[in-house]
Structure formats: C-alpha cells, structure tokens
Point group: C2
Chain length 381, copies 2
C-alpha cells in the first residue's frame, strides 16, 4: 500500500508538494517518472537509477505480458527482484498500448497518436485489428501474431503478477478523432472496467483509477467525478490532451478539481520539459514520459541552455567542445566528459554515447522537477 | 616511454611473466587488451574499464583518422583526455584496416578475412579499391568516399596526434591467399616502412615494429630478425596466422624466438578464450581481440561453464534462470543480475543487455588471463 501526504498547496496555482510513501521508498512530489517499458530504463543499468535522481519508475503491462510474460516476472519474485530495482515502480494498465498499437497498425499512427486528418477514423472509431467488447480488448500480439485478450480482470491479474507498488485500472483511452458520441460510450465502459478492477484486485498493491473523457469538458468532469467516487488509492489522468498546451492544462484542471486532495494524481505519458511547470500548476503530482531516453537515443541532450543535437558537427570542435554538455549540471557525464567526446560517440554510432546521453537527460529532468519542488516550497509557483 | 621488466620465464614453455610500465600505469603481462576502436570499448563507459580489470586498451588509427580526425583528438589533449581514459592505450598502425576494408569491399571479405576459396585473390594480390605503392596505401574512405593516402610517415604523424602510450609502425599485412612471391615483396616493403617510421617519429611514445611474413616460415623468421635488429621499444606480430590453431602457435614461435627477451611482444587481433593459453605459451606478452564485446552484442556470454547464448529461451525460465550468469564470477553483473533477466533484456533487444554482457565478458577475459599469470608464477604453464 501507499500513503500520500500533502505537504503544501500553492496559493498561486493548483501546484502541490507532497510525499508518496511506498513499500520501496518515498517519492517527493511533484516527481518525474522515467519509463522502464520492458523492466529497464532504456540504455541504463539498475544501479544508475538512484544516481540520476530517479524516485519512481513506470513499467509497461502490455510489453511485459508479451515479453517475458508476467508469470516469469512473478517466478523471479516480482519486478523489483527480477530487474534488481530498489525503487518504487508503477505498471500502467496496458490499455494505452493495446489501443495505440492497434490503431498504429491500421492507420500508420505512431505510438504517440500523431496524425493529421481528423477524418481517418470516423464514427465507430474501432481500429480494425482490435475488437473492443464489454469484457475488454482482443488484439494481435506484435511478437507472434497470436490473438490476445485483455480486459480489467486480465490487466489486474497481470499487474498483480508483475508486482509493482502501484498499478492502474484498465481503461480505454480514446484517440483525438473520436466523436463525442463514441467518447461518451467509451467513458462509460472505462467506468464499468474501473469497478471491475476494484472487484478483481487481490493484493494490497496501490490501485489507481484512470479518468478519461477525451477533449470533451462534460465527459472529463463526469469521468473525474465517477472515478473520484470510487475507493482508489490514487488517480491517473489518461487519453488525449487536446490540440495545444493551453488546452491540455485546462483539461487537466477540469479533472484535478474533481479529485480528492488527499490522494496522488498521475498524468499518463506527458512530461516534455516545457510542460512540466504547467502540468504541476494544474495539480499533477507525478507524470511519466519517454522523452529523455528517447531523445538521447537520437543524439539529443537537454541542458540549461536548451536542447543540444550532438549529431551536428558544430559540437565536435572548437572551444565549446571542451566544455561539459551542461556546465551547470552535476551528473557524472557532465563531470567526466566533454561535449566534443559525446558528439564523437554519437556521430560514430557508439552505443556508449546513447547511454551517457540517456543518463544525463534523466538526471536533467529530475533536476528540473526538483527545482519546481523548491519553488513550490518557497511559494513561487 | 615504456619500461618492460621480465619477471619470470617458464621452464615448460615460452610463457613469460612481466610488467610493462607506461606513462599511464603498469600492465601485468601477459595481458588481454580490449579494443576501443573509436576511443571507447563498445557499450562500456570509461569508468567501467578499471572495474573490468582492464589494464591496457588498443584504439584504431584508421577509424580515428576518419572520425573524428586526429587533429580533433589532439586538440582535446590526446586520446586519454579526449575519452577520459586513465589507463595505458595503444594505437594500431592502420595498416590492417586499410587492407582488410579494401579487400572486404572488393571480395566481400569480412574484417577478419575469413573466406573459403584460396583462388579469389591470386597473383599480384592487390585489391581493386586500394593502391599500394612504395610510399604507402591509397584507399577510399568508408565515411565519405574521399581518396585517402596512408603510409609510414602519415601513420606515425596520426598516431602522434592521437597520443597513445604505445604506437605501431605502419605495415602491410598479407591475406591468406597471398603467394610466396607477393608476400616476399610485401615483407620487404613492410621493412622499409618500419625504418621510415623510426625515422619519422618525433615524440617519446613507445614505438613497436610489426613483423610479417604470412604463412611462410622463412619469411616470418627473416621479418622477425629484421624488425628485431631495429631500435623498436616492442614488437607486434601481425598478418595471418595460418589455417589452424596449431599452425598459428608454430608461426608465433618462429617469430618470438627471434625477438629480444627484454622487450614486449604484442600479438595483433588474436585472443579467443581457447587461444589464450597457447599464445601465451608461444611467448606473447599482450594481445588484443574484439571477441568479448562483439559476442556480447550478439547476446553471448563467456562463463566458467562455457559460452552461453542468451537469445535462447532456455535461459529465461527455470531454476537456472535465477542464478547469476556465472556463479563463479565476481563482476557486478553476476553479483546483481540473474541469467533470466539478462536473457529477457537480450531477447527484448534492450541496449542495457548489451552493456551488461559486454561488461561481464571483458571482466571474464581479464580473469582468465589473470589465472594464466598465476599459473606461470607457480611454474604450471
């Protein structure tokens, strides 16, 4: 179980300062949550995590179900022992991946659901390779093409086997093109699934309910009220967040306003650097995002002077190349290596470069959110 | 400069125990030398190296000349500062890559020059995309297709800019299909280049001369005698080593017999686990090999119970999967992770898995050679 203590509420915004106690340690909130999709933060080692300032991880139910399978993780004593991770861990419910990977295959849409035309998926909005029923979602495994069924019962069972500190209720995130009519049906289904998850749970892992509602204010508020009324240990805010950052913040505020103050709120899959302050001010306690590791694997570092694309020749030579990536950063990469060497590693396609940038980026994200915590404490946010 | 102290000569074989002192520390010999082609051991971080028991590295003149260029390395204060490596470093002469990559392109031959038919390259034996003249080799850059010329003067100049502790004379390694006539001409050229290198050197880096001679005993002995007669600080044994392991050992012994006892001998590009004892017994002090990192990147680990292919499902589950990769190994990977988790990472294509296996494999190779040193000390080898 978890225990959430609200330490301070900002007078200037909905920002909150808190401590989330879990069986694997405490998390100072607001906190950034690196993604460990397949039971590792990509390119990092488990003994790197604390050094990057990471307090909490989120692993992926859908991916771990397919590979290596939750039974295997359980047979190793759960995800903490399996991956030798001495930090609190969440698992998402699997709903997002089931849906986004399904749509992705049908419509060439990436995992982050970016596409141009609102007309690709119209009425009905059911992707071809998925079948959504009252009991859950039938989909095709990307590993071996087998039909797999996942619903609230299955998701909870899988997450109980994986054994994270915090698990999420199974939900149906809607895509940006979903009609109001479809979204309303979907929200109702997500609510029935939320109750089914509460009924199915057998462990004392913390269970977060997920609020949905797409871009529709009424549905967002309705969903937040419903999920808030149930005995969840915390709340997830899921689905799509509108067309721009301002709309995203508004949508998050519609939801957080309805949620009980004494329980933690997790924003699923959002956390670009430039979003952090906004989402915290909208009342979010934790949020996960693959950006630091994803960008690192493409040669990009985040620094106090902005994003640095180390694939460019300009970072290879000259006086600046002898400087650390970020002279203001205290991470081991910035203490031990120069921008020029890192750029060489990236340009020479050395895996070592991806590791060093990933380490730095995760550290940097954790430092930025640490700064935000300090500003809330001082009453500046 | 370096200083080599011969501590013990085996009575049972040509094995030797020694200490090689360099400006960046001492190397207990015989020693395994991991390869840092592009100024990093692939997937490892510079702060991993000492923990793997690594004493000496070899970087690649040809690759560093093309990327990022020796001038850049020099502007960063040389390879040690550039890559933040606090260990002795060698650079090879570039001759092997120039030739193997040239032949590789012409005849579809891998870098390790394995091919079936002895008739692909016959009389003359000059690859099409290379032009070997008295002054050196003209070849085409794999980076941008530009014509590049490298000869003894160029190689030494590049290696002086890179700034390793030990550098090698520029040579022409011959391929297994080279005729005796061609090999004889080539050996003479390598000898003229050796003298040109001695003349060209301007720094007090240690300079090793490379002996060649292909599979021809007379030429091997002739080359060893010639190179041994010159004021080199140590000696490299290069080129091809015959068709089987026994022939390889004989060839190495033809050479080491002719070399002065008080100077170190390095065997270039050989060091499979099963070769180690043989090459040490043939009188070799140091040898480099990409096998531990190369195999790791293909999911293979070396252990005291043999090679383990972690891509196989059998390592994922069952009682053995909860054991370390090698229960007899003391490396951090074996202390902190199970075979099952490592197999999961490899099977899920996680870069983290490649790093962990590379770390273990390099550690393991260093442990095996440490065991060989102990056996020489005890008079058992």
């Amino acid at each position: 179980m978890i225990d959430f203590k609200l330490l301070k509420k900002s007078k200037k915004s909905n920002a909150r300062l808190g401590v989330l106690k879990t069986p694997h340690g405490e998390v100072k909130t607001p906190a950034f949550v690196p993604v460990a999709t397949q039971a590792t933060v990509k390119t990092l080692r488990s003994d790197d995590l604390k050094e990057t300032g990471t307090q909490l991880l989120i692993a992926n139910t859908y991916h771990l179900h397919l590979k290596p399978g939750e039974k295997l993780v359980k047979s190793h004593g759960g995800i903490h022992k399996f991956a030798n991770i001495d930090l609190p861990v969440m698992t998402d419910s699997g709903g997002f991946q089931v849906l986004s990977l399904g749509f992705g295959r049908d419509y060439g849409i990436g995992k982050i659901m970016k596409y141009d035309s609102g007309e690709i998926i119209t009425k009905g909005s059911q992707p071809k390779l998925l079948k959504i029923t009252e009991d859950g979602v039938e989909f095709t495994s990307y590993v071996d093409g087998k039909k797999i069924f996942m619903g609230p019962k299955e998701s909870i069972k899988i997450q109980e086997s994986i054994g994270a500190d915090i698990i999420f209720a199974f939900d149906e995130p809607t895509v940006p093109t979903a009609t109001e009519e479809y979204t309303a049906e979907s929200v109702e289904r997500t609510h029935r699934w939320a109750d089914a998850c509460l009924k199915a749970r057998k462990t004392n892992q913390a269970l977060y309910g997920i609020t949905q509602g797409g871009r529709y204010k009424d549905l967002r508020i309705k969903s937040a009220k419903f999920i808030a009324s149930r005995p969840f240990d915390g709340f997830g805010i899921g689905g799509e967040y509108g067309s721009d950052k301002r709309q995203m913040v508004k949508m998050i505020e519609w939801v957080t306003k309805e949620l009980p103050e004494n329980k933690p709120r997790h924003l699923l899959g959002v956390g670009y650097l430039e979003d952090m302050e906004m989402i915290v001010k909208a009342g979010v306690d934790t949020f996960d995002c693959t950006v630091p590791t994803h960008y690192a694997r493409h040669g990009n570092a985040f620094t106090s002077k902005g994003k640095v694309d180390l694939t460019k020749t300009k970072y290879l030579s000259g006086a600046a190349s002898k400087q650390p990536l970020d002279p203001e950063c205290g991470c081991f990469v910035c203490r031990e290596h120069t921008k020029g060497y890192l750029s060489h590693l990236i340009r020479a396609h050395e895996i070592t470069g991806l590791e060093l940038l990933s380490f730095h980026n995760v550290y940097y994200f954790n430092k930025v959110i640490e700064g935000i915590r300090k500003r809330i404490k001082k009453g500046e946010l």
